[in-house]
């Protein structure tokens, strides 16, 4: 934007004015073998450091045994570009005991040549009913996996156990879950994923079944052709070595692998995915036009977002610009970092939220049907409230169980020094937005209410999941060079403590595919509560940033305490209708068989 000629004040104006004018012009899954929790035993202790009676979330990581810190290699003082965006992790119930376990990615030296001694390992934590014990040793992850970035969780071989894909520099990894024993086998080369790298580094990845053959395929985002040798030296405004901005690196093509059973086949060229380059940071499968064929949305950093429309014949077409989700306001590029998907406005369409850089508004693309989005960042009041934060991971979650999807973002700057006028700081608190139910959101500002969410750290990944099975979705933030945070949602507990408040009801579903992929990915759930309100959600296949969230689908019901009915449209095309579903329970639904298990949520009063 240049409204006036900028250079007029400095002597000899004419030529300069001329130039300025020119500038103006251009310018259980798994498995049936999975059991649901039957015990109410919880041992999370009370009295968190910052907890007040009003705090909505409490960081219980340390006290629950989740002790881990992602070392980005900052101590090597190289300031390699790859360091700026690391720290991922996710929830995975690897042993099918009904409790979400946790996997956290680790980095260490940003270049193998710098490595002194052993590289710190990624970590696997087993959930023992609300507390965690580390299970890395002997798991297969207790070795040098390179500079590990992100995680995708999926049962690629439909054996009933979730497997793990890791993006890493210089090699990605696929680990097969050995039937919940706690051991994982490296099958990267065996399954044809050993040659996933060009010269670039991969960031987020997602499993999803794009062709409906019942087997999970794999999309891998790549950021840029980068090696330690091609890293560029940049300085900040204090003339110190700092991380570069994205434009100095070319964007890279992304990769799509088709699951052929015995192997994964690289179909990036055949599918059309490799036609467009982007600095990819986040990916999610989403059937944006509701034609039953999962499409793929990719958030790119200072390159247009991609919306790969699934043509149904193994090919994809990038329709982001036409669909209205390729750019931010004014057609400006987004620094797309993370993706959250939900029917936040009860339109029954999946809308997209994309996080961005400080000073650049986060964007909410409202799905208005017929495969079209409108940018409602301003009118939803998300953009203005967020400008001083640099966000990566993000998820919709109905934290208060009122039936409206709220929004949580993980934040932290990428540079070592920032201008405090344009950014909250390098370390930043999480941001929580309550859905007002009228298309707008209100940011929750009170530190008391935010509780431990208000602690400033450099966050990257964000995953959500009900780790204590109390019916309210919790969250986990993966941070750079500081401890991981596990935020227990205190909504249930608070309602119990204050009997004058009605306890919101929730209900959750764990889908097990039979003809469809076992993870139930892409299934649409349409729930009608006892007050007649219709809620819509989908089994997730990718979201947030470098993270894997709980695939179980949770619905907040607010005051609706009566029985609900549910319609599930599986990816196979099978539609299943269930009724008489009592709230405050977790249901396992097997494709074609209806409810195969159900249990009440655990009593939140026991979880302190």
């Amino acid at each position: 934007m240049r409204i006036i000629c900028a250079f007029r004040r400095v002597i000899f104006p004419c030529a300069i004015v001329l130039c300025a004018i020119v500038l103006c012009a251009i310018l259980g899954l798994s498995g049936c073998s999975r059991s649901l929790p039957t015990s109410n035993h919880v041992s999370i202790s009370s009295s968190p450091s910052k907890k007040s009676n009003a705090s909505l979330f409490e960081d219980v990581a340390q006290k629950s045994g989740l002790v881990f810190s992602c070392d980005t290699g900052i101590a090597y003082r190289k300031r390699y570009f790859i360091e700026s965006a690391a720290a991922g992790g996710g929830f995975i119930d690897f042993d099918n005991d009904g409790y979400l376990d946790i996997f956290l990615t680790q980095c260490g030296a940003p270049s193998p040549e710098l490595l002194k001694g052993n590289r710190p390992h990624c970590a696997l934590f087993r959930n023992r009913g609300g507390t965690f014990t580390e299970a890395t040793s002997g798991s297969g992850f207790d070795k040098d996996l390179g500079y590990v970035y992100g995680i995708a969780v999926g049962d690629y071989d439909n054996d009933g156990y979730d497997d793990i894909f890791l993006t890493s520099y210089p090699h990605n990894w696929l680990f097969h879950n050995e039937h919940g024993t706690g051991k994982f086998t490296d099958v990267t080369n065996k399954l044809g994923l050993g040659k996933t790298h060009s010269t670039g580094f991969a960031t987020s990845a997602a499993f999803g079944d794009y062709d409906g053959d019942g087997k999970l395929d794999l999309y891998i985002c790549y950021y840029a052709p980068w090696t330690p040798a091609t890293d560029k030296p940049c300085v900040n405004f204090e003339h110190e070595r700092d991380y570069c901005t994205p434009e100095v690196y070319d964007p890279e093509t992304h990769q799509l692998f088709h699951n052929e059973g015995a192997t994964f086949r690289n179909v990036s060229d055949a599918s059309g995915i490799s036609r467009v380059k982007g600095r990819g940071l986040a990916v999610a499968f989403v059937d944006f036009n509701e034609d039953g064929k999962p499409d793929i949305f990719v958030a790119n950093d200072l390159t247009p977002n991609m919306l790969w429309k699934n043509n149904g014949d193994g090919t994809f077409e990038n329709v982001a610009a036409e669909a209205g989700c390729g750019y931010a306001e004014n057609g400006s590029l987004m620094a797309g970092m993370g993706i959250a998907i939900a029917d936040y406005d009860r339109s029954e369409h999946p809308s997209l939220f994309v996080t961005s850089f400080a000073g650049m508004p986060n964007t909410l693309f409202r799905n208005i049907g017929e495969g079209q989005f409108e940018n409602v960042a301003d009118t939803s009041r998300i953009a203005p409230a967020h400008l001083k934060y640099l966000s990566f991971g993000c998820e919709f979650l109905d934290f208060d169980g009122d039936g409206w999807q709220d929004l949580l973002t993980a934040n932290g700057h990428v540079q070592l020094r920032v201008n405090l006028k344009e950014s909250f700081g390098v370390e930043q608190p999480k941001r929580l937005y309550r859905n007002n139910g009228d298309g707008s959101f209100a940011s929750i500002e009170s530190p008391e209410a935010l509780g431990d969410l208000a602690t400033p750290v450099i966050s990257r990944g964000l995953a959500i999941g009900d780790f204590d099975n109390d019916g309210f979705v919790d969250a986990m933030a993966m941070n750079q060079n500081s401890p991981v945070q596990l935020f227990r949602n205190r909504t249930g507990e608070m309602a119990l403590k204050n009997p004058s408040l009605p306890r919101p009801h929730t209900i959750a579903f764990h889908l097990i595919g039979v003809k469809s992929n076992r993870d139930g990915c892409h299934a649409r759930l349409r729930l009608k509560d006892s007050l007649g309100v219709v809620h819509t959600d989908w089994v997730r296949a990718g979201s947030s940033y470098l993270s894997a969230s709980d695939r179980r689908v949770y619905f907040g019901l607010g005051a609706a305490s009566g029985a609900c009915s549910l319609e599930i449209r599986w990816q196979s095309g099978v539609t299943e209708k269930l009724s008489g579903l009592e709230p405050d329970r977790l249901y396992a639904v097997t494709e074609g068989k209806g409810i195969t298990e159900n249990h009440p949520f655990r009593d939140p009063s026991l979880m302190r």
Partner: protein, 393 residues
């Protein structure tokens, strides 16, 4: 114990020191140089600048370390619009006495005037290292930093200028625009208010206020207030470029795409190379189900977007790889192709310094000179037409 001799001795020492301080040091013992200098000064006082310059040049030949003569020469050449010679003299001063107050600032301005922006920027930075509040150098940085891919530097310069020269509406306008561009709305608000107080007749004030309102108040009442401001701006300056674009945006927000199109189509004619107009147009046509027109506008938008992205990426790299001749050449030629003449000149200049005599660069310079002249003629024509329309002489 009293020392009666002390006071007279001190007075003498002070007198000697003052003489040494006031008199140009190199004239000591060089009366011929001094005579020529005085003759030149007398000629300048008579208005005979050519004689003055000739005398001073002779004087400085005898006394080449005399910064006073070089300074007079530089001023004389500047008065004659012979900036290249003025730069020669200023560079000599910077060489002889690098700590001379303001010397790098003068050089910065001189370089800027002969369109050697990179050199101007470097000199301004040198001046600011010594005097961070040197307003002319801040002005140079504000003018150039943005195009060198250093937006932060530009912002800091404007921020400082808005404090040092709070009543300067030109700097203030640039600052308002940059803050709005960066979505720093809270900081923009008081600056816009100040601008409107200082320049109540300027249509820019209404535009800035309208843009701020558009960003910060999405309610129907906010939209209506913003409409009023943009209409006011159009009344103040019917040819203003931005009000129609924003009126289009507001009517899109109000879900009145037909009305938005009325403004956007005119805005697109006013500013055919402005990509966000094409972006809004594509959306407005899509909302009114004019698929073909929407696709055409999107195509135009995409082409402009790609151009800008490529140029910005190249410029960022140039900022990092200052010795990369090929990169500067590529960037200069690309900027020329897409009509970004200022960037083209900066990059071609730098490339030429890195490797003089490259034939492609020579061709590019010729092309640039021709196209800038064409553009200048066009601007003069448009300005003349506007003045005629407004009945101005």
């Amino acid at each position: 114990m009293k020392r009666p001799w002390l006071l007279p001795v001190c007075l003498v020492l002070l007198a000697v020191a003052a003489t040494l301080w006031i008199a140009p040091p190199s004239f000591l013992g060089n009366s011929k140089a001094q005579t020529l200098f005085s003759q030149g000064t007398a000629a300048a006082e008579r208005g005979d600048l050519d004689t003055a310059l000739a005398r001073w040049e002779n004087s400085v030949r005898i006394d080449p370390s005399n910064t006073v003569i070089w300074d007079m020469l530089s001023q004389g050449y500047l008065k004659k619009n012979d900036t290249e010679n003025a730069i020669r003299c200023l560079l000599r001063i910077a060489e002889i006495a690098p700590d001379t107050p303001g010397i790098h600032g003068k050089l910065a301005i001189a370089f800027l005037s002969v369109q050697r922006e990179q050199a101007a920027f470097e000199e301004a930075e040198l001046e600011l290292k010594r005097n961070p509040d040197h307003a002319p150098s801040l002005g140079v940085v504000a003018a150039i930093a943005g195009t060198l891919g250093m937006g932060d530097e530009r912002l800091r310069a404007l921020e400082k200028l808005s404090r040092l020269q709070p009543n300067d509406i030109d700097f203030l306008a640039q600052y308002c625009e940059m803050l709005l561009e960066l979505n720093r709305n809270a900081e923009a608000r008081p600056m816009i208010e100040r601008f409107r107080r200082l320049a109540p007749q300027s249509h820019l004030g209404a535009i800035y206020a309208g843009m701020l309102l558009f960003r910060t108040d999405t309610s129907p009442a906010g939209c209506q207030a913003a409409i009023t401001l943009f209409e006011q701006a159009m009344e103040q300056e019917p040819d203003a470029l931005f009000p129609r674009l924003y009126l289009g945006k507001i009517y899109m927000r109000l879900r009145q795409p037909e009305k938005a199109l009325v403004y956007l189509e005119v805005a697109a004619k006013q500013m055919p190379g402005k990509m966000d107009i094409q972006f809004e147009l594509a959306n407005a046509y899509a909302m009114t189900r004019q698929k073909d027109k929407s696709a055409e506008a999107r195509k135009r938008f995409q082409a402009l977007r790609d151009q800008t992205d490529r140029m910005q990426s190249l410029l960022k790299r140039c900022a990092l790889e200052r010795q990369n001749f090929d990169l500067f050449k590529e960037t200069g030629i690309y900027c020329l192709q897409v009509g970004s003449f200022l960037n083209a000149r900066i990059c071609l200049n730098h490339a030429e310094n890195l490797k003089p005599g490259d034939p492609e660069i020579r061709t590019a310079w010729q092309d640039l000179t021709r196209r800038e002249a064409e553009q200048q003629a066009k601007i003069q024509q448009i300005t003349a037409e506007r003045r005629t329309r407004k009945g101005l002489p």
